[in-house]
């Protein structure tokens, strides 16, 4: 950190608050000084008859055929209230409606002070067509993941053992059927043993699987290999089951 000899003053929060309060108080005092008293107003004239008010709404405002909605209205200063399609109604109330088509509800409120109208629209939509049970076509990556099995190895070995041959053959068959797919084979080891030797062993395992595939007709240009030694284990337990899980050639689809 560079030192500098610059002195600086801190504007502490306490100081800033005090300044603000002082300024505000000052402003209030100033306004108070400018305020003048007004003259008293004349008496008001007698009020006329009140005009009616009217409001109407529907909820929900969109339904499907067969469904119902609630119509709600409110009026005041009215003696005669009616809604088109329903007839005379109470000045305020609500009612369930279930038209088959979209409808506008028109309300008229009459009183001694005049007439007020209001309306609201209920939309009836057609139901969407039934969806087909769509089976999206699987991607190459999905198929790869489902059909290409990892190959498992014996302890300190990189040769393909007997019980793994079916996996390898199955992998080769799939890969020959999908010649546009490229992929990487990762070589992995269990966590016993030494970092450097395991990287070399993992390299051998990946190469071993690659050879088996090219021998079965898969083009080498589609195959990359990489060793992870014991650097990227699939499980961490200290037992043979986990160690076997880690001793493998692992397939990764190349996008």
């Amino acid at each position: 950190m560079k030192r500098n000899n610059v002195k600086n003053i801190d504007l502490k929060p306490q100081t800033l608050k005090t300044l603000a309060t002082v300024t505000a108080l000052g402003a209030v005092l100033m306004l108070g000084a400018c305020h003048k008293k007004a003259a008293p107003p004349p008496p008001p004239p007698p009020p006329p008859a009140a005009s009616p008010t009217a409001a109407i709404s529907v909820s929900p405002d969109t339904i499907q055929p067969g469904q119902s909605a609630t119509l709600t209205w409110q009026t005041s200063n009215a003696t005669d209230v009616s809604i088109d399609g329903i007839g005379a109604v109470q000045p305020s109330g609500s009612q369930s409606v279930n038209p088959t088509d979209s409808t506008t509800y028109h309300l008229v409120a009459k009183g001694s002070g005049g007439t007020q109208e209001a309306s609201t629209r209920l939309t009836v939509t057609q139901p969407p067509p039934p969806t087909q049970a769509a089976t999206p076509s699987p991607t190459d990556e999905d198929l790869f993941g489902r059909n290409v099995q990892d190959v498992y190895f014996d302890y300190d070995k990189s040769n393909i053992r007997g019980d793994q041959q079916t996996s390898v053959q199955g992998d080769a068959q799939f890969l020959n059927q999908h010649p546009n797919i490229s992929f990487t084979i990762e070589g992995h080891c269990d966590d016993r043993g030494s970092t450097e030797y395991n990287l070399a062993l993992g390299d051998q395992r990946a190469s071993s699987v690659k050879s088996a595939l090219t021998g079965a007709g898969v083009n080498a240009s589609r195959i990359k290999t990489i060793s992870y030694g014991k650097e990227k284990p699939f499980c961490l337990e200290d037992n043979e089951a986990c160690w076997q899980q880690n001793r493998r050639g692992h397939f990764v689809y190349q996008k």
């Binding site: 302890y155 030494s194 990287l199 190469s207």
Partner: protein, 482 residues
């Protein structure tokens, strides 16, 4: 200095007296390092057949300097009272503590002196020659042969340390060393002064081999979130990150002149040997060879690198020059071959690991690949290191290995000429990647004995074990060449 190793231990014929299943603590006897004392000597004798006539030496003041003579000698008893403040400057206290701790530690771990416990010291300790009363130190209870003392003071923006080494049995002319050091008054500079003076003493008392107090260790740490190359002082201080690859970087090896670090890293093209310049603090160009490239190793003259590459199929040992040119393959058999290391003394041989017979074993060969000799007879053997005097290999070995077999990986020492070996670690855990100090007396290695992988150090006889790293997982240490 040469070690005359005369021991008959686990020989290749299998008459193995060092049965590690019983986990006996066997301390081998290495002339010039230490003689087991007391009960340990008795138990060691009952298991080792040594040339008994050389076990006991009559005197030690001169003899143990001649460590090549095969004499089993006691280390000199050195008293090291705390250095005293030379002035009243308030900065003295902190710097004095740094100096005293570092100085004591360097001497205690050196393997050439036995430090007299401070509880035996007289109440008055000297800071100047005039304050020394030799017979207070040479008589019981301290019973010291040597005395290191001095003072430290900050004045005029500088720290000055004066230090002396006295032979307290020689009252006529006791002074062996008298030194004065000056630097900026910082913690780092004070540590360096302590290292320098300790190394002077070790050089004088250790048969003319330079001390290691200023040496460095390079290692792999994952504490940043990725495995990267880190460095630290030999005593574990000043741990700092070197590479920032953000991938997996392994197997750092420092060049003999200390300027370049070779290592293996997972790049977009796979595992490559990368070269980092410590002078420029960045990667410098080095060829990409293709395949999986691992475990680089420098020849002692700094002109060649050996490494493992699978560029032509399976992993074999290759050699190139320091700039990566003139690539040639030197092994040809069934692999995988990995972890080469040069003979540090001659530069004419390479030891390496091969899985050609199944489980990995350690081999030696000429630097052109001829005359392959298998060194290990069973089990799982990896990570060879070649001693500075050219005579020994260290390795990590699981002598009984296989599914279901017990047996941890331990550090072993092997005499190359006879293939006889000694087990150095015994206390469990996985111990691997031993690396020799330039003094040929110390070995640094990785061990999981504390619960996770950390860097540990010990003397080449397996004693004075101590832990250097504590944060994250730390592996694959490599000692600088000086």
């Amino acid at each position: 200095m040469s070690y005359t190793v005369s021991f008959r231990l686990g020989s290749r014929n299998g008459s193995n007296r060092m049965d590690d299943r019983h986990k006996q603590r066997q301390v081998p006897h290495f002339p010039g390092i230490s003689a087991p004392t007391g009960a340990r000597l008795l138990s060691a004798l009952s298991f080792l057949i040594l040339l008994s006539s050389v076990l006991l030496a009559p005197s030690f003041a001169q003899d143990w300097v001649r460590t090549g003579s095969g004499l089993g000698v006691e280390k000199a008893r050195l008293a090291v009272p705390d250095f005293k403040p030379a002035s009243a400057d308030p900065q003295n206290a902190a710097l004095l503590k740094t100096f005293n701790d570092t100085f004591w530690n360097d001497l205690d771990n050196s393997g050439v002196v036995e430090l007299v416990s401070k509880s035996f010291y007289p109440l008055q300790v000297p800071g100047q020659p005039a304050e020394v009363t030799s017979n207070l130190w040479s008589a019981p209870p301290p019973n010291a042969a040597m005395l290191a003392f001095g003072n430290l003071g900050v004045a005029g923006g500088k720290v000055t340390v004066q230090g002396w080494l006295y032979d307290v049995k020689n009252t006529a002319s006791p002074q062996i060393l008298g030194k004065q050091y000056t630097d900026v008054p910082t913690d780092d500079a004070t540590r360096l002064i302590a290292h320098k003076f300790a190394d002077e003493i070790i050089f004088r008392l250790g048969g003319g081999i330079p001390g290691i107090a200023e040496s460095k260790l390079y290692f792999v740490s994952d504490r940043s979130g990725h495995k990267e190359v880190w460095a630290m002082d030999y005593d574990g201080s000043n741990q700092h990150q070197i590479t920032h690859q953000g991938s997996i970087s392994l197997s750092p090896r420092i060049s003999p002149d200390g300027s370049r670090l070779a290592f293996s890293s997972l790049t977009k093209s796979g595992w490559d040997i990368l070269m980092f310049s410590l002078d420029l603090n960045r990667l410098i160009s080095f060829p990409r060879f293709g395949g999986t490239n691992l475990s680089p190793a420098w020849s002692a003259d700094g002109t060649s690198l050996a490494f493992s590459s699978s560029r032509s199929g399976d992993s074999q040992i290759y050699v190139c020059d320091a700039s990566g040119n003139n690539l040639r393959r030197i092994t040809a058999g069934k692999g995988p071959d990995v972890s080469p290391v040069w003979n540090r003394k001659t530069g004419a041989q390479v030891a390496f690991v091969s899985g050609s017979t199944g489980l990995p074993q350690v081999y030696t060969m000429e630097a052109d690949g001829t005359n392959q000799q298998r060194m290990t007879d069973q089990g799982y053997a990896v990570s060879p290191g070649w001693s500075p005097n050219g005579q020994f290999l260290t390795l990590a070995w699981i002598r009984k290995y296989g599914p279901g077999e017990p047996g941890s990986s331990d550090i072993y020492l092997m005499d190359i000429a006879s293939k006889q070996w000694v087990q150095l670690t015994h206390d469990g855990g996985r111990n691997d990647f031993p690396s020799w100090a330039p003094d040929g007396r110390h070995i640094v290695f990785q061990s999981s004995r504390s619960g996770k992988e950390e860097i540990w150090m010990m003397l080449a006889d397996g004693t004075k074990l101590h832990q250097l790293t504590f944060t994250g997982r730390n592996t694959q240490p490599n000692w600088s060449w000086k």
